[in-house]
């Protein structure tokens, strides 16, 4: 889902879209100078089609710091650089989690809907 979202938004002039396999400590540096950051990924639990949820920095503990949660990236950014961007989680409902290729039909529909959500969000923050 993430790569497809990043690909779809790549041509959008107002934003920088980057794909990550997983978030790491270096992403604290990547978000440091941003005004607004949206972490987008497939979700097992959020309601379809997608949700845009504000998130706050946390000194979040997970069982590994090889892969950080978005809130932990923000928390690390705050501790290292003294600031954090406004941040949101774009959770796009997914359905099929097995190893394979491509998105499920439902995920494809939700991807399209999430892009509309992003467009609406971009319009609001531009005002």
């Amino acid at each position: 889902m993430g790569p497809r979202l990043a690909e779809a938004l790549e041509g959008e002039g107002r934003i920088r879209a980057e794909f990550r396999y997983q978030l790491g400590v270096e992403d604290a540096l990547a978000v440091r100078d941003c005004d607004v950051v949206v972490f987008a990924d497939a979700s097992r639990t959020e309601e379809a089609p997608a949700s845009l949820i504000p998130i706050e920095p946390e000194a979040a503990l997970t069982f590994t710091t090889h892969a950080l949660a978005p809130a932990a990236v923000l928390g690390l950014c705050r501790e290292l650089y003294g600031r954090t961007p406004r941040a949101y989680l774009l959770a796009v409902r997914g359905y099929d989690w097995e190893v394979g290729e491509g998105l499920s039909e439902g995920a494809e529909r939700n991807l399209a809907a999430s892009l509309a959500l992003v467009e609406e969000f971009l319009s609001k923050i531009s005002e």
Partner: protein, 482 residues
Amino acid sequence: MGHKITIEPVTRIEGHGKVTVQLDDAGKVTQSRFHVVEFRGFERFVQGRPYWEAPVLVERLCGICPVSHHLAAAKAMDVIVGVRPGGLTPTAEKMRRLMHYGQMFQSHALHFFHLASPDLLFGADADPAIRNVIGVVLKHKDLAVQGVLMRKFGQELIQATAGKKIHGTGAIPGGINKNLTLEERRAFLDAPDPMNAAKMVSWAQAALDFFKDYHAKNRGLIDGFAAFPSNHLSLVRKDGALDFYHGVLRAVDAGGKRVLDDVDYADYLDHIGEEVKSWSYMKFPYLRSLGKENGWYRVGPLARLNTCDFIPSPLAQKEYEVFRKYTKGKPNNMTLHTHWARLIELLHSGEVIQSLLEDDDLSGTDLVAKGKKAKEGVGLIEAPRGTLFHHYRIDGDDRITMANLIVSTTNNNEPMNRAVHWVAKNVLENKPEITEGMLNRVEIAIRAYDPCLSCATHALGAMPLTVELVDAAGRTIEARSR
């Protein structure tokens, strides 16, 4: 009644692991195991795919060390397209080496600064709330910042050589699909501090000095913790030099005797077997000449410095001489000395990167070699965590029919179990209460191996951590989650 202590998963390693310690009624350790419970099945998934997809498909096993898989698969595919090891163009080989050493640099930096350092800086008994990377930031901000920037430097090298920071496409069967311009090379050499190669070498040296200082003040802990004799295996260059990209197989026993030497890795199946055990999805490799019981071996930084004869870069060679002198030239079997070895490799990687960036061959235009197609290819490489084996067969339609991957962490399966057992016997046994610090010591032993359990079981997804204390009858007495 006896009880079993389970730690699942182990914090601050990649993937999902579970540790189980069985105690009898008297509190004595009767058994300890390091389980890996996820199963992914990439070896089956790639079957039927065109062979040229292997380097970009298999690297998706992992988001931490994809370059190793990318290059190991590419080396196997080189053989399939008829290009023997050593037959790449100079540009292709050096671009791949730069990619690989960039990965070694960032991986080792990440491990030390963000995974291992909390244990060293705060101690095994510190509050878990600070014994992590956030705690490192709060107390030793300079170290945390350096760790992030060293990782960024390595990631940018990977992006320049592979096309992307993660899951790049640079290495193709028979060569590489891009070179580096002089401007790109100079950018890494001449960028303002700190993002240049010279500064990275300087920081790597400082990290090594930090560890040596820590070791001098904590010798008993670092030398004694989870120390046990083992065989050691790695690739070494034909002349015995440390080489992460290519070499011949060598193994030494705990006393330094060579039990495998100058072996072409294409023949690995003649020398390496894999045992399957019922309680783990991760296999147990062993040296056939020594048998299943005695043939297990360590791989990774400690093993590499035990098997090689010298390091071909001056600063790291100097540190290597100090390292070897510490054990009077004999193999080092002290688990926590893996951190020392890893930092020497970090320094070596920085030196090699600096040297390669000056090499005009990186800007050459001859990128791909060709030869007579074969039906089978083996590619081995020294990944950050140790020797990585990729082996493929294809059919007449160029589709993969067989894939066998022995990843570094799998090679270290038995050593990690031995380390857990050492901690169980020496720290958990006969104690009236199992403390957080004791459980963390089990994890410290495993973390020294920097395991990537996602690779080892080719696992995906989020994995929870639970600790269970189970009595001899199998009833859960206590459970902890992380």
